[in-house]
Point group: C2
Chain length 514, copies 2
């Protein structure tokens, strides 16, 4: 367990956090989900053992590539792997043994301690979409994302009750030079929200910048002793670990900051077309990646990731919310739990070009699956559109609303005396109704999850109010939220120090746009 | 087990069925789902026992009402219940004991034997929406349903690959007198489709007409010996069994035809606001209803039903796809299995007024839940809109397409040698891709479920083709299907006999519109 009690900061974010707690302007955020329902498991022990044995075969006989990274090759050699060029063959059992020092659960601290999250166990932490170069909304259509869009998404995330995490690259601010945009993104997460966030991974130096900005926000000592970022390290599937992502992982692991080690799977393209074959490759890749993180720093927090989609064999397009992706995810969850690692998968995935019925079917398929699969950290849990090319404003609030349903489902079933409701059944009797009975009066406020976006009105009322579809309702909600946004309090000195850091870093290098 | 091998008919539907098999015009229908995945269970044994004990308390101490049905009261008296007015109090254990003669699984025969379904066990049989007085489509908007609409839905159901069952009142043909519409509905199911169907329940005499029409279609002897209808008997929750529904059940049970005994629950109105309380009432009601069916004829096939929605406490509107409804359904599935009864629940439920994102979120939540909950018969699996007031043409084909995803998920995970795909991983190696490898070539055709409605194209292509949303795509599909419909072959004599029966019945009574 990497779990540690939050400590008072010697200096840094503590003051801001305390003021945020006292503040009257405080948008409610639900606690991360603590499941009171079982995980859904599709593989029996025999099937799990076949896949685990095969993954070891892949590592020992085929191996993985660590590209442009001589130091990594040396670390593997020192650990007992066979290194041939960039190919690393890992003897049976070695990777799994190395993974044992990774914590099964860890706390990621937010600057508002009430919003710190525990990632692992039966928990589910929800974070928004990550990575799209485009944005879309009803008013402006589809367009390249800008920093202004980015900041709006951070604000929406801050105001979303069911979102526990501010995420990372909620969209790519394409109007800012590539080598500088991480600074603006980090600043936005740190100042516009008080939820936990992710660090930059596009260059090891940018990971280092992320750590340094956290040291300003939280205090150096606090960052040394605690995990304050969870960052996304994608594996170039099949079985390729590039120097950029591994360089970022090295920085984060050294600083005891968390990484998601995540195969990026489009089934049929980056992995076999079969579920079992895909799971074998996913496990081999995660074993190698997590083991490597533990070579950097034993005990560094890390998450078993699996980004899974399938492919449309006609067009080559990735497809989402499909049954095969669900089966892979259910299986990957089982494999992660057998490794005692937190699990990342699922999200508001869809291939649709609009936040329409297709988007919602595919997204609901994936969100429900994520809850049932035992996912501990769900990136992309709202706002994803068009295979991840687009961060959609309306879909962000639509999906974020649906995340409330996951909270309700995860509660499971109480059978305490109040929940048994025998007195209510007695009171009402055959032919009566429960609308006014004592039990209903006492419990109705918390009995049912209620959407803040969807329409429950009768047809006639709905028609009088303009016959709005979900898209129109969501568009109104985006406006309402952004118009009512107020930044969480932050110590002025810290804010100024962050801004100075960003300004000086930006001034220290020429713009780069690739 | 009510399972019997399909027998050759002495006369009747056999010839038509054999011709349908040989026919070149044969729309493919998937076999009903045989799950290779576990059921999702939210209650532990202790919780189940609490609910089962409480349900017996409800039956013994509170009791249920059998309204306007002296014969039923006498049957209960004879069986050992305490009858007080219309109230029937059933001693602890009696109802459960009576339920034991009901089969755990039964075959419902279709006139095309290839489309007969086995309801129970790990199977899931999918049937369309039932009951809406309105229809909607993109062209005509929302309007009262007519017989023409009804016939179109039966045609669409016949052509839907993933739909195993033609259903019953797919919409109310409001242009036909109330006392005659069941004849036209039965005729449509019998002649426009060759899938299994449901009988009328709105009057005992109409149930009798349904049996007689089946005797024409299948032959008298066949109907005597086999189950050819599964009909929907709703309980007036809480705990009220009206004479109309019970009268229909009596007719069907006497003829060994199947009934779904189904509490109609809007949580907070017809049942307590708590999940455990609702489950207690559902179980008590089903125990009483199923036990009654076995008093009529021990061994009559019957299904444990649970129509579950929750309520919006602001407007009083029923809400769908909600987490509380899911928890009730998961729990009800467990209770049904402990009674060794087939289970009916879930559907394409939504409260939305349009087939938009709200409709799709809510529907996907419910469809996925239905698969995971171990549902054996899913009525309303496509086409439901606006809380069941509307049968929607576009949503029918959108939902019916999504049912394909359930088939894919239910397959579970194979770990045979081909599925392990170790040779493919070896062949491709680090940094390669699987698009052209031998394993992909051999398996891609069956590897992934593929939607027939949703759009997987790149943005640019999609935009060039008119930037159609799911609604527009589905509208096109409705037209294509209906334009290509061809009726399954049916013996001309049988068809004429059915038409004569309907004409004579209609002529024998005045029109009634209520």
């Amino acid at each position: 367990m990497a779990e540690r009690a939050p400590r008072r900061r010697a200096r840094g974010g503590g003051g801001a956090a305390r003021r945020a707690e006292r503040s009257a302007i405080n948008f409610e955020t639900a606690k991360y989900i603590e499941r009171n329902i079982p995980n859904f498991e599709v593989l029996d022990d025999a099937a799990l053992e076949v896949i685990e044995t095969n993954a070891e075969t892949v590592l020992a006989e085929i191996g993985v590539n660590f590209v442009d990274n001589p130091a990594a090759l040396q670390r593997w050699r020192d650990a007992g792997a066979e290194v041939d060029g960039e190919r690393v063959r890992i003897p049976r059992g070695l990777a799994r043994e190395l993974c044992k020092t990774a914590p099964s659960s860890f706390t990621q601290h937010a600057r508002n301690p009430e919003k710190s999250v525990v990632i692992g166990g039966k928990n589910l932490v929800l974070a928004p979409v990550y990575g799209p170069p485009f944005v879309r909304d009803a008013k402006g259509g589809r367009r390249y994302a800008t920093l202004d869009d980015f900041q709006k998404f951070v604000k929406l995330g801050y105001m979303s009750k069911w979102l526990h995490h501010s995420g990372g690259t909620v969209c790519e601010p394409t109007d800012v030079p590539v080598n500088k945009r991480h600074l603006d993104m980090m600043l936005a997460h740190m100042t516009l929200s008080d939820k936990p966030f992710m660090g930059s991974v596009t260059e090891p130096s940018r990971a280092q910048d992320s750590v340094e900005m956290c040291e300003i926000l939280f205090g150096k000592e606090f960052v040394r002793d605690n995990t304050v970022m969870t960052s996304l390290i994608n594996i170039n599937s099949p079985m390729t670990f590039d120097d950029v992502m591994m360089g970022a992982l090295e920085v984060y692991a050294k600083h005891n900051q968390a990484c998601i080690v995540s195969p990026f799977i489009v089934g049929g393209a980056m992995a076999p077309v079969s579920v079992a074959g895909t799971l074998t490759q996913v496990l081999a890749e995660v074993l190698a990646g997590v083991a490597y993180s533990q070579l950097i720093r034993p005990g560094a927090p890390v998450i078993f990731g699996a980004f899974v989609s399938s492919i449309d064999m006609n067009s080559g397009a990735p497809t989402f919310g499909t049954p095969e992706a669900s089966l892979v995810t259910y299986g990957a969850g089982q494999l992660a739990r057998r490794l005692n690692l937190p699990f990342r998968s699922a999200g508001s995935f869809c291939g649709s070009k609009l936040p329409d019925a297709q988007a919602a079917y595919e997204t609901a398929n994936s969100l429900n699956m994520g809850l049932m699969a035992g996912v501990n950290f769900m990136l992309h849990s709202c706002g994803w559109l068009e295979g991840g090319l687009v961060a959609d404003f309306e879909k962000f609030v639509m999906d974020a609303d649906q995340l409330g349903a996951l909270h309700g489902l995860a509660k499971g079933v109480s059978v305490d005396e109040n929940a048994q409701a025998l007195d209510a059944i007695r009171e009402v009797g055959p032919g009566g109704h429960y609308l006014g009975c004592a039990h209903t009066q006492q419990n109705f406020k918390t009995a049912f999850w209620k959407s803040e976006v969807l329409d429950y009105k009768p047809f006639e009322t709905w028609e009088e109010e303009g016959a709005r579809d979900t898209y129109a309702l969501a568009s109104g909600r985006v406006d309402t939220l952004l118009n009512n946004y107020q930044a969480p309090p932050l110590d002025a000195e810290i804010k100024a120090a962050l801004e100075t850091y960003v300004a000086e870093k930006k001034a220290s290098m020429p713009d780069a746009f690739s």
